[in-house]
């Protein structure tokens, strides 16, 4: 445990920046050795899609902090409304995101 204070906050941010930059730099180094047409490269693009999909299930179904205080049914319901609006608007991302988020805000406000 560490005492709160400006110096610690700065250290926390620097540590978080370094921890993230490390992965980006490792990716750059590995990419230099890869053939863009090759199997390894193709596997990594599919793995990236899967990681983002995993991140999505984490954000929607297993969130941390404030979002976790809103019920699962609100999060999933708002997401479904967003998806429905997306397809009803012929795949308009703005309509989908706005519908999902506004539904979420209304439900969180009404229930919270």
């Amino acid at each position: 445990m560490t005492a709160f204070g400006p110096a610690t906050a700065a250290l926390v941010v620097v540590g978080a920046i370094a921890a993230t930059a490390l992965w980006r730099a490792l990716g750059v180094f590995l990419a230099r050795r890869l053939d863009p047409q090759g199997a390894v490269f193709r596997w990594f693009s599919f793995a990236s899609f899967a990681v983002l999909a995993g991140l999505l299930s984490r954000l929607l179904i297993l969130p941390t902090g404030d979002l976790a205080s809103v019920g699962l049914e609100v999060r999933l319901g708002a997401a479904l409304i967003g998806v429905a609006a997306f397809y009803l608007s012929r795949r308009n991302l703005l309509v989908g995101v706005a519908s999902g988020t506004i539904s979420f805000a209304l439900a969180a406000g009404a229930l919270g």
């Binding site: 560490t2 941010v13 890869l34 999909a53 991140l55 809103v70 703005l94 805000a105």
Partner: protein, 235 residues
């Protein structure tokens, strides 16, 4: 007509960013700015963390763990785990961008986000390496600028932000990612996404730290296998 050179790609990338990505960033980073304020960061640090961490899930983990009084090293490890996705994303993005210099590569990897990656992977993005480099540069520079401003707005306005709205701002990101992934084309990518979402739930439950990378291994392999069979069918 798709742009074929760097300046053309740069303009196309900036145009693509001004629109929905800007709206989403304004919303979600305002939410982050408010969170950073409430968890006790200074305004400068909040903006700096947006520009240089540049991955919202990791930033939220950082703010929440700091508020909970966690140790500096523990926070760095947790943020590193949350942002591990940048490793496979950089590997798959870099070979498609022009400009072979190492400094250029590091700059592009640092600017990359889930949104920029997904936009460059869309079929509407430019195809030549130089135009793709311009596109990613233009797209990400607009995004980082908007995000930095939004963080500051959220930080300064935190006190006046009603709780349901603050939470909805953090929800925008999940909703945007969901729709971007639904918009994915190609059998391999679709299989990877569906497997990732489905496998991601139990895996993240049992392995909260390394869950994302395990999900990537499983979903990536499933997508690769699905794509491989398709390629053999097409001569």
């Amino acid at each position: 007509m798709k742009p074929v050179d760097f300046p053309g790609g740069l303009k196309a990338g900036m145009r693509a960013a001004v629109g929905l990505p800007t709206v989403v960033l304004l919303g979600s980073l305002t939410g982050y700015g408010a969170l950073a304020h409430d968890t006790g960061f200074g305004g400068g640090l909040a903006v700096l963390s947006t520009i240089l961490i540049w991955g919202l899930p990791g930033q939220i983990v950082m703010a929440e763990m700091y508020a909970a009084g966690a140790d500096v090293l523990a926070i760095a490890i947790a943020v590193g785990m949350a942002n591990m996705r940048f490793f496979p994303m950089a590997v798959s993005l870099m070979p498609t961008l022009g400009g072979g210099g190492l400094a250029t590569r590091f700059a592009q990897a640092q600017l990359m986000s889930a949104t920029s990656w997904a936009y460059v992977m869309r079929s509407s993005a430019p195809e030549t390496p130089q135009a793709r480099l311009g596109y990613h540069t233009g797209f990400t520079c607009v995004c980082v600028t908007v995000a930095a401003i939004a963080t500051l707005i959220g930080y300064l306005g935190a006190a006046g932000l009603p709780k349901p709205l603050a939470m909805a701002l953090l929800f925008i990101n999940a909703c945007f990612l969901l729709l971007l992934l639904l918009d994915t084309r190609g059998r391999g990518a679709a299989v990877a996404v569906i497997t990732g979402v489905a496998a991601g739930i139990p895996i993240n439950m049992y392995f909260p730290d390394t869950g994302l990378i395990i999900t990537g291994l499983i979903g990536g392999t499933a997508g690769f296998l699905a794509d491989g069979t398709r390629r053999q069918e097409e001569p």
